[in-house]
Amino acid sequence: MANFDQVSLLLLVLVPLAGAVLTMFLPASRPRDAWQFAIFVSVISLALSIAVFLRYDYGVGGVQFVRQYDWIGHPVNIGLDFGVNGIGAPLVLLNGIVLLGAVLISQTIRTRTRDFFVLLLALGAGVYGVFIVRDLFFLFFFYELAVLPMYLLIGVWGSSTDFTTFLRTKEYGAMKLMLMLVAGSVLIWIGILAAYVASSQAGSPTFNIDELSRLQQDGALPRSMQLWVFPLFAVGFGTLAGLWPFHTWSPDGHVAAPTGVSMLHAGVLMKLGAFGIIQVGMILTPQGAEVWMPVLIGLGTVNVIYGAISALSQRDLKYVIGYSSVSHMGYVMMGIATLHPVGLAGAVLQMFSHGIMTALMFAMVGAIYERSHIRDSMILNGLVKRMGVTTFFFAAAGLASLGLPGMSGFIAEFMVFTGAFRTYWPLAVLGVIGAAITAVYILRLLARSFFGESDPQWDNLTDASTIEKGVGAAFVIILIAVGVWPAPLLRVINTGVASALSVF
């Protein structure tokens, strides 16, 4: 097993990448093969993720599975440095789960199936990479790799919708998503360069996060510089995390994206942003972080309330979920910005739980859309009659998202509030209120579209397929399991929180 630890993280990236490459060579004439192969690949990835998560020794904590490969030596010293800490490990697990779920759900992709899975797996590889590298260059490398496929995934397999007052085409959604995310990464890039320059002026040029962090603690990154670099990281990564007011790509992107992509996107991609803020922003520029956190938590609170209120008046199911994602990522922001152990741990747990929850929601909405070709909650009604199981899973996810105790969302949000209450209590109160608003729109949605008398036009709808049932059940079980017994996750997360806050 020691050997496994040596290569586990490398495999974690290589498996999906290799999968993507191999998929290219499958015959285009037999799309099903591509699907099955993708399943095969993501199952292996999931197995690896689980192994990594379980073998992460929370007794020791810190960065583990460290493995360094030289890449470009002097003078820039870029190295392919693997290593995962207590914050990365749960997210690796999350990615494994959601990736498999998304692949399974994507059974319904009919056109250019092969290309779809190539891109999807590449995306998965990128996400894995961000969670497990310790080198800024490669972090950025994988970060972009995760964003890159989105344009085609949405543009080619997405759907355009004509809301009577305005039009959202997939081209628009894809283009906006791509440009906003890359615009965000522009800031990140500049921040990274700034950090590097500081390190090289300190005489030991490096991109390695841990070494940079060490330099930082030795005062090599001057406070004045941190003050302007942290905002770059915060906004840059924040854009991907749906930070207000840089969030608009997210709802439109979700509306346009195909189901599987939405799942991965809201499920894990948005987490990259939050992860980056912790892993890069906080660790490298703590002094800047301390100064800017009040702003960030303010924005996070805006996210929560604003997202919830916007969701309240949406008709399109995907818009509702999209805005609710914005709202929930707000909790993550708040938790991070508290700089309080409990709050931060809550943020990470929230990332995990929201990932599962929102993926489940999108999966179910996708199932409905597949059958009815409608996402307008004003037109849909009484779905429970024909799609009982789907409704059940959606309701479960919805309850999780409104913070129902006994499901993962509650523990996470509760911890965020705890941390926030300790630091900025009025905002914590607002956050709690936001959770209450969530209840309103989720319940309205359930009452309107899922329960209630169904009109005959839906009588031909069929309930969730076996695969959808399987995915749904698995996700619901995870939601409840984490909600009832979060200890296994929190044990790991706590160590990550400890190392993240150790720089302050």
Binding site: T248, S310, H340, G382, P405, A428, V440, A447, V497
Partner: protein, 645 residues
């Protein structure tokens, strides 16, 4: 006694089993739920005797320093978050346990819940027969019971909050059980959202306590509150925030609006959740957190006032309401108000006592109402003006219902009489005189509307719906009978019978054991008023020898206000439509038009236009290119020349 945690666990287990396997289980798995709760009841009995036998010698038990009651505590780790161990100060981490706290309050509450739940589920077997979602019904029932029991057992605020939300969820699911009709659907939503508003307060209160106490454990929080470790401001704030939660759950004004609507649910649900158990959670919370309230006189006064307002207002509405279940609902609200009032008046024991008495009686009444609906074949609601004289068609129901009504109406020697009397005593003793006056008025009113309901429905002339009414199946009657016995006799355990623990008050008390006090004056007044009310109602509604038409005419405007439930619902409706939805629409528009189309598309557009504008500089005329070159040359040369000179 350590196994008390099993009481909820059985039902927790039953729920998913039923959901998953109902298709194959006999009776859709209903027996499973009933067995679970029966098991819970058995464990309770066992726990009860265990507790009675227990003493400080038991390592898990100790006499609580504040309540001075024997308290047993069992717990095991749940999870830690933040920097457990690492942190120098406690506030860097949170630690949570699965813990149960057993003291007299818990014991009696568990008794009430398990007993009523058992009865109601048996009753439901018959009542819900043939419902398409029979299995689901019992699944949710089981889940509810489990959550409710957990709520009563919880030893820390977080666990309590979890149970608190779960019962809310079950109430949501059960109110909306017949979700095909809009009524239940909306009612369920309303119930969940309105209580949720209160929960915000509760959660914030819990957080506030955590910040100041550094733990979620109730005992520690109480100790801090009593020892003065908390500033009075914090104590009051915490108390009021908890109260907010309590008001939501216990349907106190202004959060009472959801309870009447909740009657859209199946009647047994109303009996269990909205009469006997869930709605008293609020009262329980205040009683449980009493050390905090006790430490803050202001908070107590507010509790009392809210209780009184609720009690009086609800009573008046009940008096004019024409729907049987809604009458009962408002009466529930009113009595919950009385309990709050009593708590506010330091009548802790009285409140708990009334909680029990009312629980049994009201459950009985609801089941009676259910039996009436079953009898006349009504599904949604029963308009008491359209039924009447049912005593011939359904005699047994008539009897048990009347017992319940009399008991709740406070006819002497029935349980309701004693409990209400205790409350009056507390109020008269510890609050300004205006309170006692209004309380007595409320008591009289409650007698009156009970009498009205009872006489109109069962006595007096036949209504058009009562034509082909028929008695309910035996199972339902048995359950009602059992409850009737308690409705009559429960009150008597108040007395210090030889060999008992100095009566109810000697067992369930806060701070000091209470004997049974009896103030002949108050008792006389309330008793006489109650009897008078019933006699009057008999004359008006049964004999029809007196007509209230002239009164109605004279009080028309006032009546209108009351019949419209003081327009509280209208206000809420207005707030939702005009304020919330408008805001959200505005925000959504802002998000699309401003943030997206302007702030996001804008810059992108500017760049694009810049591109299209800039392209013009490549004119296609070669000399303009040459010009550019020339200018470039000059610019460079000049620049360098200047900088070097």
């Amino acid at each position: 006694m350590p196994l008390a945690f099993l009481i909820p666990v059985f039902s927790f287990a039953a729920c998913p089993l039923i959901i998953l396997f109902q298709r194959w289980l006999p009776l859709r798995g209903a027996p499973l739920a009933i067995l679970a709760i029966a098991g819970g009841f058995a464990v309770w009995v066992w726990t009860l005797f265990g507790f009675l036998g227990a003493s400080e010698s038991n390592p898990a038990c100790a006499v609580n320093g504040i309540t001075h009651a024997l308290t047993c505590h069992f717990s095991t780790d749940w999870f830690e978050a933040g920097l457990p161990g690492v942190a120098a100060t406690v506030d860097q981490a949170i630690h949570l346990d699965w813990g149960i706290l057993i003291d007299p309050l818990t014991i009696v509450l568990l008794g009430l819940i398990t007993f009523v739940a058992l009865g109601v589920q048996l009753y439901s077997l018959a009542y819900m027969k043939g419902d398409p979602r029979f299995g689901w019904y019992f699944a949710w029932q089981a889940l509810f019971v489990a959550a409710m029991l957990t709520l009563a057992l919880a030893d820390n605020f977080l666990l309590l909050y979890i149970a608190w939300e779960l019962v809310g969820l079950c109430s949501y699911l059960l109110i909306g059980f017949w979700f095909e009709q809009p009524g239940p659907r909306e009612a369920a939503k309303k119930a969940f959202v309105v209580t949720r508003i209160g929960d915000v307060g509760l959660l914030v209160g819990i957080l506030l306590l955590w910040v100041n106490v550094g733990s979620f454990s109730m005992t520690e929080a109480f100790a801090a509150a009593q020892s003065g470790a908390l500033s009075s401001g914090v104590t009051t704030a915490a108390a009021l925030l908890l109260l907010l939660g309590a008001m939501g759950k216990s349907a106190q004004f202004p959060f009472h609006v959801w309870l009447p609507d909740a009657m859209e649910g199946p009647t047994p649900v109303s009996a269990l959740i909205h009469a006997a158990t869930m709605v008293i959670a609020g009262v329980y919370l205040v009683a449980r957190a009493y050390p905090i309230f006790a430490a803050s006189p202001e908070a107590l006064l507010i509790v009392a006032s809210i209780g009184l307002i609720t009690a009086l207002g609800a009573a008046t509405v009940a008096l004019v309401s024409t729907d049987l279940k809604r009458i009962l609902a408002y009466s529930t609200i009113s009595h919950l108000g009385l309990m709050m009032l009593s708590l506010g008046a330091l009548g802790w024991t009285a409140a708990v006592f009334h909680l029990m008495a009312h629980g049994f009686a009201k459950a009985l009444l609801f089941l009676g109402a259910g039996s009436v609906m079953h009898g006349v074949g009504a599904h949604g609601d029963v308009d008491i003006r359209r039924v009447g004289g049912l005593r011939r068609a359904m005699p047994i129901t008539a009897v048990v219902f009347s017992i319940g009504a009399l008991s709740l109406g406070g006819i002497p020697i029935l349980s309701g009489f004693w409990s209400k009397d205790e409350i009056l005593l507390a109020v008269s003793g510890n609050l300004p005189v205006v309170f006692i006056v209004l309380t007595i008025l409320t008591a009289a009113l409650s007698a009156l509307y009970m009498a009205r309901a009872m006489f109109v429905v069962f006595f007096g002339p036949e209504g058009e719906d009562s034509a082909h009414a028929h008695e309910s199946p035996a199972l339902m009657l048995v359950v009602m009978g059992a409850l009737a016995v308690l409705a009559v006799g429960f009150g008597w355990i108040a007395f210090d019978w030889p060999g008992s623990f100095g009566g109810f008050g000697g067992f369930v008390f806060y701070d000091h054991a209470e004997g049974f006090h009896f103030n002949i004056v108050l008792a006389g007044i309330s008793g006489v008023l109650a009897i008078a009310a019933f006699v009057g109602a008999w004359l008006v509604y049964a004999r029809r020898s007196i007509s209230v038409a002239s009164w109605r005419a004279r009080l028309a405007p006032l009546l209108k206000v009351v019949e419209n439930k003081y327009y509280v619902d209208e206000f809420y409706q207005w707030a939702i439509d005009r304020v919330i939805l408008t805001t959200s629409a505005a925000v959504a528009w802002f998000d699309r038009a401003m943030v997206n189309d302007v702030a996001v598309n804008g810059p992108a557009d500017v760049v694009r236009r810049a591109g299209f504008a800039l392209r013009l500089h490549v004119t296609g005329h070669v000399y303009s290119y040459a010009l550019a070159v020339a200018l470039g040359v000059i610019a460079l040369a000049v620049f360098w020349w200047l900088r070097s000179a």
